[in-house]
Amino acid sequence: MLGMLALSLASALAAKSYPVDGIVVAVDPVARTMLVAHRPIGKYMGAMMMPFRVENAAELTGLYPGVRIQFDLVVGKDRSLARNVRKSGGADAEIAPPKEKLKIGEPVADFRLSDQQGREVRLDEFRGKVLAVNFIYTRCPLPDVCPRLSANFAVLQRRFQQALGKDLMLLSVTVDPDYDTPAILADYAKRWGADSRGWRFLTGDVASLAAQLGEVYWTDEGSIGHNSMTSVIGRNGRLAAVVEGAGYRVDQLEHLIARELEEGK
């Protein structure tokens, strides 16, 4: 008995544990691993995407591409394990999702909206392309929300320069369609240096698309309140990943998109 205690104590001492914060890119229950785009892990490892084997396979249940998680990375002599994997929601987690919200893998219904040039935009016309969709409004006064989301898309526009417009479309949908007319959106697009071939700003009757993608918005005391959902839709028109909140790192969304671009090749 004492010997066993000593042994487990020794192994505990040998193993080091690091807290990890990341976004799930893919889950492989058979291999008991998850691919995670993580933030820097203390001084141990910089931000990158890598697979982690989980200690408890049951903890993979309920994880999906885009979900933000935290776990303890236990690094032993021969191997490392993810322990105590848990979802970590932000302020947006307090907002109840709409009942129409799609699950990962479900098809997104077609929509008819207008872009910043007044052109009609339908989901079906993007079949075969990967879509990244976020929700913003041009008057948003909070630097940590819409401007950050748009800045992230501006970075993605540069990083996916080759694929943009051909293999990948960025769509920014307004939650303030009364005010955000195509002309207003065109001005906003210009501010962010958006290339209209690959980054389109959509307005019109956005309610159905928003509900499917879990976006909730409302008017309140002269303002618009909303959560921030960023979705990746696969080439087949099915929901592939959802990132909640505006606090993600742009490279995390980049990993999700890159993987989806790879998937359909």
Binding site: G90, A91, D92, E94, I95, A96, R139, C140, P141, L142, D144, V145, Y179, V216, W218, T219, D220, E221, G222, S223, I224, G225, H226, N227, S228, G245, A246
Partner: protein, 538 residues
């Protein structure tokens, strides 16, 4: 609003925004610049400050903005000033107007000081609009012939307040306004600006003017009365400048006058109700809140972005006034109107909420049922509906426990008391904040009711007395965030248990807290009657 807090609120305008301290007595500034064009509206009050512009329409919208500013209607004032600016983009004074109002801090100094104390110095995002406008006003005023010397001094004062590097922005505005008055001592608008920004209110409970500023502000306002007797801002500022003073009643004429001069701004109709409530004129308070509610419903129907916070506060106070006046059915009806509002997703998702029309209606219903001792209605499970947030759960179980205790059902009271504690734990866990002090008092009050119900009358009354003392030390809020004065409950308990002297003392305390409280007045009469030997027994 007496020197206290109208209603501490978590008024985050968007989910990711840090919570902002605020209150609902004054409609908040618009987080977004108003986009719909302004219209010239009747009933805003008549104010005029001549500005340099070649366009008479610009002057009209400017004056309307100024009148709205004096009623703290930041959103509409900004809309009017923007319209004036659109009509004459080269005129600096419409920009001055935006700089004055867009940040939502055109309010009495004591309110600003208090909110800073409670929530820390906060700079709402809308301040950026005020800063940009101040800068623009300065630039435009430097163009030859575009601004008089007086206008430049007005602009310099607001520019000092909007300087992001200012050490004490409010004080910088005061200094700028004093500089203006040094050169133009008879300038009415500047005198009003100064009075508002130096009024620091009065101490509690001795009602002494707070230095520096309060005495000077009162003197300025008094001196202006004969000069501009129809200035809506003057009467509004007198109401605020005298509230909490030993001479608060001197503001009564201004209460009447202000609502007459500005019949189309909800806050102007609402505000006198605060003074009437403080002085026990509950019927007049109810009239004021009722008129404000009717007026505000019109705006809410027209503008879907209007919000329901101010209406919630106003109708909550209406129900409170009815409750203290002894009008049960009216109080219930007012509470029901608010209970029918739907929470928006932010409100619904928040672990704790006191603002929003629904939350305020819920508390108004709780107050009414408890104050009228409608134990059966409390226990029917519907009149006071379930509200799935720990704060309201705690209050609900508290009310049910008090109801059971007063009906002599000790087991029921104990069970509800247990559920109350469970909700309190839930509050700490879900909000990561300590227990609200008013609910701690509620716990103390409940213990008293339980003792009385168990037949330990003296012990129970002593506990109620302790709870009453604690309740009177709570932060003063309007309407009160304690359902009914504990002294009132103690008076009823003492009466029921044939202790008229204690009952009399208790009801007198309750009446000191809330003059003309009908429940305490009736109780006092009953207690006095019991103590007066009848002629026959002499």
């Amino acid at each position: 609003m007496k020197i206290g807090i109208t209603l501490l609120a978590i008024a985050s305008l968007a989910v990711a925004q840090a919570p902002k301290g605020g209150d609902n007595c004054t409609p908040p500034p618009s987080a977004l610049a108003p986009t719909l064009p302004a219209k010239l509206l009747p009933g805003m009050g008549t104010v005029h400050l001549a500005i340099t512009t070649g366009n008479p329409e610009t002057q009209k919208f400017f004056d309307q903005g100024l009148a709205q500013m004096h009623s703290f209607w930041a959103r509409e004032a900004e809309r009017s000033f923007l319209q004036a600016a659109a009509l004459d983009p080269e005129a600096p004074m419409p920009q001055w107007g935006v700089a004055m109002v867009a940040a939502g801090d055109w309010r009495p100094r004591f309110q600003i000081d208090l909110l800073s104390q409670v929530s820390g110095r906060q700079t709402p995002p809308a301040t950026n609009r005020a800063r940009t406008a101040a800068q623009r006003a300065v630039e435009l005023s430097q163009v030859a012939g575009k601004a008089t010397d007086l206008e430049k001094l007005y602009i310099a004062a607001v520019a000092a307040r909007r300087d992001p590097n200012a050490k004490d922005a409010d004080e910088a505005f005061v200094q700028g306004t004093r500089a203006l008055l040094g050169k133009y001592p008879g300038e009415v608008e500047a005198q009003l600006d100064l009075a508002l920004t130096i009024m620091r209110g009065f101490t509690l409970p001795d009602k002494k003017p707070r230095a520096p500023g309060t005495t000077e502000a009162v003197a300025i306002l008094r001196s202006l009365l004969p000069k501009v007797p129809d200035h809506p801002g003057l009467h509004h500022y007198i109401i605020h400048g005298f509230e909490g003073a030993s001479f608060a009643k001197e503001a009564w004429p201004s209460c009447e006058k202000y609502a007459q001069l500005v019949p189309n701004i909800p806050h102007a109709l609402h505000m006198p109700g605060h003074i009437y409530s403080q002085t026990g004129r509950w019927a007049d308070a109810a009239k004021a809140f009722s008129a404000a509610a009717e007026n505000e419903r019109g705006y809410m129907q027209q503008d879907k972005q209007y919000g329901d916070g101010h209406h919630g506060h106003n109708v909550h106070y209406l129900a409170t006034a009815y409750s203290f006046e002894g009008r049960y059915d009216d109080a219930v009806e007012a509470a029901k109107e608010l209970l029918a509002f739907k929470e928006n997703p932010r409100q619904a998702g928040a672990p704790d909420l006191m603002t929003g029309a629904m939350a305020q209606g819920w508390f108004a219903m709780l107050r009414t049922l408890v104050q009228f001792e409608k134990w059966d209605a409390i226990l029917d499970g519907q009149t006071l509906p379930e509200y799935a947030k720990p704060r309201q759960q705690a209050w609900r179980h508290w009310a049910r426990a008090v109801a059971y205790a007063n009906k002599g059902n000790a087991a029921g009271a104990q069970e509800e008391s247990r559920l109350f504690e469970q909700a309190m734990t839930d509050f700490r866990v879900k909000t990561q904040r300590p227990e609200p002090p008013e609910l701690q008092v509620a716990r103390e009050e409940l213990a008293g009711h339980l003792e009385v119900a168990a037949g330990h009358i003296d012990k129970g009354l002593k506990q109620l007395e302790g709870a009453s003392k604690a309740e009177r030390k709570l932060t003063y809020t309007e309407p009160p965030y304690y359902p009914r004065p504990v002294a009132e409950a103690m008076g009823h308990a003492a009466l029921r248990n044939h202790k008229p002297a204690i009952a009399e003392r208790s009801f007198r305390i309750a009446l000191e807290q809330y003059p003309s409280d009908a429940h305490a007045e009736n109780g006092l009469k009953a207690a006095m009657k019991l103590q007066t030997p009848s002629l026959a027994s002499r």
